[in-house]
């Protein structure tokens, strides 16, 4: 791995025992700002993201799975059999040479292996360790298994997201994984700063479901203050109308429009060419428009469906109306703003070929993020890490290979 130069997290070593999404994504964001990240896996229990796809040409390959490639770039990967005493000893050596240990295995799993915080701090008193789990390490439901979609549901976010009169929908997939990821980075860095000033490490026990509750924060206060849950309202807004996602020209093409003031309403009316319905009394004031939002949306959509999403966005934005094309994945790849900020960075992976990975969404003016390498293949860095970083002799390394310790 290339030298880290003068990156903000240069010289910081992260060792992770992670799988699936939230844990790997957190340490990836540290790697993108210069931390040296070593991911410990095992060939017996590989990170299941390695089998989740997408795979180019449908060829399943644990080194080429999209779910893995997207959040493990810029890292090294070693494989260890943690049931083997020497494998466990090597894991312990790695962890105690780390500044930060990140794990998101089932609560208590690392502890049972002797790799819990209390064990590690005996060997490395100033280590910072984060356990990232569905519900925290202790408590009545801590041992429950689940992904970020379960976190979404237990946080209230699934309940809140959907259409009136239909079952809740939620976001597609493990929403709290993505919400907790930048939060986890901030918490780790706060602990790291504290350590740099005081010399003291500590243990962070992060619950991704609680992070999801923060995402539903206003609804929680509404419950606390007014003993009432907000209802699902689709794309509608409690005050603004029109506010929604409107059909455009083409198959499954849509544009979001949000009118938040009389001025924006007048601008929208002007862009539409002042059709006669817009001067009716039922649309004369913000409150009247909100009351008649069903009719308003129908009439508006009879105009939006004449345009493509990007035509509509450009015309409305030129007039000062908040509007945005509903972009699918392909649209994102042709979005000129996404291209301008350089969000999709191409890497060339030996087995997966050329694909895009995403840098952190925080852009530092003096020390830009870097994608230093594509996601590692399983055990790709065994020789480098164990021989170079841990200083194991060639003979001993050959024995480890022979005894299947590095598997």
């Amino acid at each position: 791995m290339a030298s880290s130069g003068a990156m903000p997290l240069s010289g910081i070593r992260v060792v992770e025992f992670t799988w699936v999404a939230a844990g790997p994504a957190t340490s990836k964001l540290l790697a993108n700002y210069g931390a040296q990240v070593i991911k410990v896996e095992s060939t017996r229990h590989v990170d299941r993201a390695r089998w989740a796809g997408s795979f180019r040409n449908h060829e399943a390959n644990p080194n080429a799975s999209g779910a893995y490639l997207r959040i493990n770039d810029s890292k090294m990967c070693v494989t260890l059999d943690l049931r083997h005493p020497r494998g466990l000893a090597l894991a312990k050596s790695l962890a105690t040479q780390a500044d930060i240990v990140v794990e998101n295995l089932a609560p208590g799993a690392l502890k049972r292996l002797g790799l819990g915080y209390d064990a590690l701090r005996q060997l490395r008193p100033d280590v910072i360790m984060m356990s990232l789990s569905l519900l925290g390490q202790a408590g009545p439901y801590a041992s429950m298994a689940g992904f970020g979609d379960t976190g979404q549901t237990l946080s209230g976010m699934t309940y809140l997201t959907g259409w009136p009169g239909r079952p809740p929908v939620g976001h597609a997939g493990p929403y709290t994984d993505f919400f907790v990821m930048p939060l986890a980075v901030a918490l780790i860095l706060a602990a790291l700063d504290h350590r740099q000033r005081t010399g003291q490490g500590q243990y962070l026990d992060l619950s991704q479901t609680e992070a999801g509750v923060l995402a539903a924060g206003t609804a929680m206060l509404e419950q606390a203050a007014n003993s009432r849950s907000p209802q699902r309202m689709g794309n509608r807004h409690p005050y603004y109308a029109p506010h929604g996602i409107y059909r455009c020209r083409g198959e499954d093409r849509w544009c979001a429009i949000a009118v938040t003031s009389d001025q924006e309403w007048q601008a929208l009316v002007a862009v539409m060419g002042q059709p006669s319905w817009t001067v009716e009394a039922r649309f004369a004031t913000a409150l009247a428009r909100w009351r008649h939002r069903d009719d308003l949306d129908r009439l508006l959509e009879s105009w939006t469906c004449l345009y493509t999403p990007r035509e509509l966005m450009a015309r409305l934005q030129a007039a000062g109306v908040p509007a945005g094309a509903v972009q699918d994945a392909q649209d994102i790849f042709t979005d000129p703003q996404v291209a301008h900020i350089g969000h999709l960075q191409e890497v060339n992976h030996g087995e997966a070929g050329t694909h895009c990975v995403q840098p952190p969404a925080y852009r530092l003016s003096e020390t830009p993020a870097r994608i230093s390498s594509p996601a590692p293949c399983l055990g790709e860095h065994n020789a480098h890490v164990f021989r170079e970083l841990l200083g194991i002799s060639a003979g001993e390394y050959a024995e480890l290979l022979r005894d299947n310790v590095l598997s």
Binding site: H171, H194, I245, G324, A329, R363
Partner: protein, 429 residues
């Protein structure tokens, strides 16, 4: 488990002889000039102990007029929307469009470690308060800007609200049911994601400053923050040229040991809805359970041992799913959840906010903290979702508009009472 803290959220720098520092960031000062788009950033820094001053325009932040309100009474000191974004902050009012206001802001910036703002690109520069000017006064300053699309580029001047960003960030397209239009995730999620990304960015820049002595700018766009939510559709397109569609909460399976193949994971039950986790829909224990209840229908007696749900033909999956759904309909959320936990079948209650605030797991960790809010009484706020073994956090309450004017302008900047009165008279404060 609630740990209410002192009502006055004053935090002193270490060694100043005041109250002991609380939270890992108690050593730092933050100026927060942002609106709802960026306020979550300094909320997190404040909850972690930083001394945060929210700089509001005279009359208070416009977000204070956004509902819902405490007891449904519209009032600038009762906005629950504002509260959720502004715990653990102090507040001053300041008109930064006036020269005297700009001068005061510079004096505050000279003493600050972080500044967060979310004005349109170029606005702070137009007031003489851009990073170039402020870094002359305070080279250590880390300045974070949250904008819809970034400071430059073809869409940088575009206007946005959250739904626009969920659309442009790829989130809306993949959210919702296949037979309905794209859907916005409830709440201003793009603002929250951007705030968290900005907090992370501030701390990365801070760690760099600790070695170099120099601050820098941190730019976060709502769009880029949203793009991280759709890393799955992005990688699918990148590798396979497949556009991920929307189909409820379910996410796609892999070929082996991957994720769920269930078309929809939300099922009606006797008293609401449950969410069957793809991790927990283990067919063997689930059908044993159903058979014991005589509710396996025509699928009773079938062996599930070697059935891989993910590779079954769609008609067969639908048939199995129908029988499972029928079983769920006959039971309550609690029955399914509790019994499922015993059997290793994860079927969780689909909680609304009432269920969340009562969920015992959160209480056992002290996640909700009760805070006394003037004009409102005690309110339980969601806190920081992590426990720190050495530097525990505690929430401060959201401030009243301008509540800390006197202690900031007189106590910290050393203005005389007469000077402050004059500034108030001129509408600067």
């Amino acid at each position: 488990m609630l740990r209410p803290r002192e009502d006055v959220p004053t935090r002193e720098r270490p060694g100043s002889g005041g109250a002991p520092p609380r939270g890992p960031l108690a050593a730092y000062r933050v100026l927060d000039l942002s609106d709802a788009k960026g306020q979550f950033c300094a909320r997190l820094l404040g909850d972690l102990g930083a001394n945060v001053v929210l700089v509001e325009p005279p009359g208070g932040q416009p977000d204070r007029r956004v509902g819902p309100f405490y007891h449904d009474e519209p009032h600038p000191e009762r906005s629950l929307y504002f509260f959720a974004l502004n715990t653990s902050k102090r507040s001053i009012t300041l008109d930064i469009t006036q020269p005297d206001g700009q001068d005061l802001l510079k004096r505050l910036a000279a003493r600050a470690d972080f500044l967060v703002e979310s004005f349109p690109p170029g606005y702070m520069d137009s007031l003489g308060l851009g990073y170039d000017e402020l870094s002359l006064i305070n080279p250590r300053l880390v300045m974070a800007s949250v904008t819809p699309f970034g400071p430059t580029g073809p869409y940088s001047g575009y206007r946005a609200t959250d739904i626009v960003m969920q659309a442009m960030g790829g989130v809306a397209y993949t959210t919702g049911d296949g037979d309905k239009p794209p859907l916005r995730i409830a709440g201003d999620q793009s603002y929250l994601h951007a705030g968290l990304q900005a907090a992370a960015g501030c701390l990365v820049a801070h760690l760099h400053r600790q070695t170099t002595g120099r601050g820098q700018q941190v730019d976060v766009s709502l769009q880029e923050a949203m793009l991280h939510v759709v890393s799955w559709p992005i990688i699918w397109w990148s590798l396979s040229r497949v556009i991920r569609q929307r189909f409820g909460i379910a996410f796609e399976q892999g070929p082996r040991g991957g994720f769920s193949a269930m078309k929809s994971n939300v099922y009606p039950c006797k008293d609401g809805f449950v969410h069957a986790s793809p991790m927990g829909l283990a067919l063997v224990p689930l059908f044993r359970w159903m058979e014991e209840n005589g509710q396996a229908g025509h699928l009773a007696g079938r062996s599930w041992k070697d059935v891989n749900f993910e590779t079954l033909p769609p008609e067969e999956r639908e048939e199995i799913e129908g029988v499972i759904a029928g079983f769920f309909r006959e039971h309550t959320r609690s029955e399914l959840f509790q019994e499922g936990l015993k059997l290793g079948v994860v079927v969780v209650p689909l909680l609304g906010p009432d269920g969340v605030v009562a969920f015992p797991q959160f209480e056992s960790r002290g996640f909700f903290q009760s805070v006394e809010q003037p004009n409102c009484g005690r309110l339980a706020f969601p806190g920081v979702p992590s426990q720190f073994s050495l530097t525990p956090w505690s929430l401060g309450r959201p401030p009243l508009a301008g509540e800390h004017n006197d202690e900031t302008y007189q106590g910290e900047l050393g203005l005389s009472s007469a000077q402050l009165q004059a500034l108030k008279g001129a509408g600067v404060v």
